[in-house]
């Protein structure tokens, strides 16, 4: 139930990200500045903390935990341990995050 309910906030966060993208791509640079200023209001900051940190991370952990059910791996007559599949997801998540941060110019 919690997973189903929190996905609505994740969906809302995705919509917000698309609005941010539209603002960033707008020919008028003023629009991006206004968007960023708007997002710095306390209510928005609270929303970002809850949506990104709590709900998105919660969804990620929940779905990674379920991944071995959706994507079981069998090598010959040996089944890959569910823990290995979950760990591989976390490794992939880390790699993708690092690449994204590198593209964003953080490093």
């Amino acid at each position: 139930m919690l997973r189903e309910l929190t996905c609505l906030l994740v969906a809302f966060y995705c919509v917000l990200t698309m609005i941010a993208l539209a603002a960033a791509m707008d020919a008028d640079p003023q629009r991006w500045s206004e968007f960023i200023l708007g997002q710095q209001k306390p209510a928005w900051l609270v929303f970002h903390v809850f949506a990104l940190v709590f709900f998105t991370v919660y969804q990620t952990i929940a779905w990674f935990r379920l991944a071995p059910k959706a994507m079981p791996l069998q090598l010959g007559d040996k089944v890959v341990a569910p823990g290995t599949i979950v760990a591989a997801h976390y490794v992939a998540w880390g790699v993708v995050s690092l690449v994204t941060l590198w593209i964003a110019g953080v490093f």
Partner: protein, 252 residues
């Protein structure tokens, strides 16, 4: 231990009764049943039938979790009545017919809906190639058998349907057991009907109606994992959809 040495405990068992020819709606009747500590709740129902009220209707056959006939709601939880032991229950027990199904009489439910869906899902081996010669077998390695063996354990008890919140909301949903059985044949190396089954089940009433709550897998008395089967079918159906868009006319 002899029968006489077994302790008895009297359970107050509330049983849902419904006679469609006499009752406007289902109601409960309570029976005091002196249960032996090694009894399953099915034994208590048999005691009621034999000693207290011969009009009680319910399905059962094997008493050992093989036939799948005796699924009911016990204190609100769907289970086989031969699997739930009196020693694990409080003094007051409520027995109802399986949730999410129409009641035929007392604890007997109408299973026509699921039987129709089972037929529709083509849960049998489909071959496109001509069959081998009479003296040639379909060979299958242990690794190939391992892929689907757990799904062969389904005994069609329909306990998973009683647990499924999605089937409760939308009776058009194909549901857990039928899709687990369809997936069993999709994974079978002898089968060539995967694409046909995905065409039937890869829609809203099929795999996409499942929100992966997982209640079906939790209640399964045979430890089948229908929720996993449905998620795997979602991936297969997505792959087939992409392939059909990229290569129209191609069957995966």
């Amino acid at each position: 231990m002899s029968q006489a040495e077994l302790r008895t405990r009297t359970l107050e068992i509330e049983v849902m009764r419904y006679d469609p020819e006499q009752d406007k709606e289902p109601h409960f009747r309570t029976y005091s049943v002196p249960c032996q500590e090694d009894w399953a709740i099915l034994d208590a129902l048999n005691y009621i039938k034999e000693n207290l009220d011969s009009t009680l209707s319910y399905r059962w056959s094997c008493h050992m979790m093989v036939c799948g006939s005796c699924g009911m709601m016990i204190n609100g939880e769907p289970s086989l009545t031969c699997k739930v032991f009196v020693r694990d229950l409080p003094d007051n027990v409520r027995v109802e017919p399986l949730a999410n199904f129409p009641i035929e009489r007392d604890l007997v439910v109408v299973l026509d809906d699921v039987m129709g869906k089972l037929q529709n899902a083509q849960t049998y081996i489909i071959r496109q190639d001509p069959p081998p010669a009479d003296d040639v077998e379909y060979k299958q390695s242990p690794a190939e058998l391992m892929k689907f063996k757990q799904y062969t354990m389904c005994i069609n008890c329909m306990v998973c349907y009683a647990a499924c919140p999605q089937y409760n909301l939308d009776p058009e949903f194909t549901g857990p057991a039928v899709m687990a059985l369809a997936h069993r044949y999709n994974l079978d190396s002898r089968d060539q009907g995967r694409s046909e089954r995905l065409d039937i089940l890869g829609d809203h009433d099929g795999v996409w109606n499942c929100s992966f709550v997982g209640a079906c897998s939790e209640v399964c008395p045979k430890h089948v994992d229908p929720a996993a089967a449905i998620q795997q079918m979602k991936i297969e159906a997505s792959g087939q959809w992409v392939l059909q868009k990229l290569l129209p006319g191609r069957k995966s």
